[in-house]
């Protein structure tokens, strides 16, 4: 690693520190290059190669993996994934915003506890929690058994293994990621501004749209990104809640790699996924700060 000058006034700071820098930063740098950068470049390379006979790839250049994406079946899967990710984000936002607002009105100690209660389930395996819902919602599950016994319905209502169930699972698994940044933004809200708006005669609705909403936009953007991107690739949620009926982009990539052993095709889908993510992030950096996402 070559050393450059920070500022002209600080040249002494770095001189003779090459060894230190190498010892401190070198190991991580090497790690990230070997296990992150090179593998990602390899995936991009694979997406332009022909598939091997027994999985793997052949070193023959082709654009076929990308032209195959125009296949309507694949196009449909990609579109469905984006639509699902969109609705997941919208629903998460709609249920989390009022909730975060209520939380922000609680007093300090109580509020901390309530936020902790939102984070606590992170320590409990997501799949186990989703399975809990599946036990409640499935045909022979708690709700249907209960309603059948009461005689409200004569046939179980099919709730599991539908697109709706996948959406439900996504919202369930991801909405805490919306609550946390929203809560951050909303608790920073200066209440005197709201008062001022009221004093100046603004109605509650226009105060919300003209004062509160613009001030909490950073939280809304950060939360939306944190819900939207994971919902594009969470294949296990589609598997567990949607059964085989909800194939999403994540499932498609997984199956191309694991079942069909068509690496180049899976790699091409991944490149599309990366490009789409980068596009979304690019839009985000126009309005928000990347640091807020961590």
């Amino acid at each position: 690693m070559r050393i450059t000058r920070k500022h002209t006034t600080e040249t002494t700071d770095n001189k003779g520190h090459r060894g230190d820098i190498l010892c401190l930063v070198g190991p991580l740098f090497l790690w990230m290059v070997l296990f992150l950068a090179l593998p990602l470049l390899y995936v991009i390379a694979i997406s332009f190669l022909e598939k091997g006979v027994y999985g793997g790839v052949q070193a023959i250049f082709t654009l076929e993996n990308y032209t195959a994406l125009w296949n309507p079946t694949y196009g449909k899967v990609i579109w469905r994934s984006i639509v699902l990710a969109f609705w997941t984000s919208v629903i998460c936002l709609l249920i989390s915003y009022p909730f975060s607002f209520i939380l922000s009105r609680f007093s300090g100690k109580y509020q901390g506890f309530c936020v902790l209660l939102i984070m606590l389930p992170f320590w409990i395996n997501q799949l186990i929690r989703l399975n809990g819902w599946s036990n409640i919602l499935r045909d022979s599950g708690v709700i249907n058994t209960f309603l059948l016994k009461l005689g409200v319905i004569s046939e179980p209502i099919t709730m599991m293994y539908t697109d709706g169930a996948t959406l439900f699972g996504m919202v369930y698994a991801l909405f805490p990621f919306m609550v946390l940044p929203l809560n951050n933004s909303i608790s920073k809200l200066d209440h005197s501004l709201i008062e001022a708006a009221h004093d100046l005669g603004a109605s509650r609705i226009s105060t919300f749209f003209r004062v509160i909403l613009p001030l909490t936009l950073p939280g809304i953007f950060a939360g939306t990104i944190q819900v939207f991107i994971p919902s594009l690739d969470a294949f296990y949620i589609a598997d567990v809640m949607g059964g085989g009926n909800s194939t999403l982009l994540g499932n498609l990539i997984k199956d191309q790699f694991m079942a069909a052993r068509n690496w180049p095709s899976g790699a091409a889908f991944s490149v599309i996924l990366i490009l789409f993510t980068l596009l979304v992030l690019k839009l985000y950096t126009k309005v928000g700060n990347l640091e807020d996402l961590a």
Binding site: T4, H17, C23, M32, L40, Y42, V43, I102, Q126, N131
Partner: protein, 266 residues
């Protein structure tokens, strides 16, 4: 004014917040309930039993999964913390040409879908003829945990008083001694929260582990993923209930230690 605002919280607000928590916790209550149920068919609660907690320890494959998951979280967290702490200190102290590159590489695992990292690792390991094993899991887990460790540490380092390190050196401590006796102790709270975050991420990871897990070894989340589409055995519910209890106990313990420490300072 703030008081007046608080008073405005009506019954509906409490009802709404309650509904959100119910939505979040209902499936967890189900899991806990099932784990004490004599009825293995687990839909109707027949009676209370601790049978599954005994059976759980007899289940060899479940126990080896648990052990593997814990070992994996521990080993990858130790590596992440060591690599991450050294790099965070280096990046704070010095400027070097590839700093921006490193910074960008660290953002990749945070923003890019996990799936992509999973398949990239799988493709690379397979092409290089590296057999998927515990160590491929460790490599993949460190790669996605390390950025979170660094981000956590950065917040801590930002408010760092350089003069304390300089004082140590002026008093004759060498570089290594300063690092060990001054810098690292000052960073400790950040290191601990980074490590906790890394453990959490590693313990719960499904997507990346799915791609780099070896034939014999499966982590607990992957085992559950395999079962989740069909029926999950009641022993698994018992195991997770136990893990919930342990988590809550650890939290209460750390809260107690913190409040005791705060009292002593006062």
């Amino acid at each position: 004014m703030k008081r007046k605002e608080e008073k405005k919280l009506g019954a509906f607000s409490y009802f709404y917040a309650g509904a959100i928590y119910l939505f979040l916790y209902l499936p967890i209550f189900m899991v806990v309930g099932y784990s004490f149920n004599t009825n293995d068919n687990n839909l109707v609660f027949k009676g209370f039993t601790l049978h599954w907690y005994g059976a759980m320890f007899q289940d060899r494959s479940l126990m080896s999964s648990l052990l593997l998951t814990l070992e994996l979280a521990l080993v990858s967290t130790i590596i992440s913390v060591v690599l991450g702490t050294l790099a965070a200190i280096g990046m704070h102290r010095y400027d070097f040409r590839l700093k921006k590159t490193l910074d960008n590489m660290l953002y990749v695992p945070i923003v890019i879908p996990e799936l992509v990292i999973g398949i990239a690792s799988l493709a690379t390991f397979t092409t290089l003829n590296i057999t998927l094993s515990f160590w491929t899991l460790v490599i993949a887990h460190v790669t996605f945990c390390v950025p979170f460790v660094i981000i956590t540490l950065r917040a801590r380092i930002a408010g760092f008083d350089k003069s304390i390190e300089e004082a140590a050196m002026d008093l004759g401590a060498n570089q290594f001694r300063t690092l060990r006796r001054v810098t690292i102790p000052m960073l400790m709270p950040g290191i601990i929260s980074g490590a906790l975050l890394s453990i959490t991420l590693s313990l719960d990871d499904v997507i990346i582990s799915y791609f780099v897990t070896g034939a014999g070894d499966t982590t607990l989340p992957i085992k559950v993923y395999g079962m989740a589409r069909g029926k999950i055995s009641t022993e698994v519910y018992a195991l997770f209930t136990l893990m919930i209890i342990v988590t809550v106990l650890i939290y209460l313990l750390s809260a107690a230690v913190r409040s005791a420490a705060a009292k002593r300072q006062r």
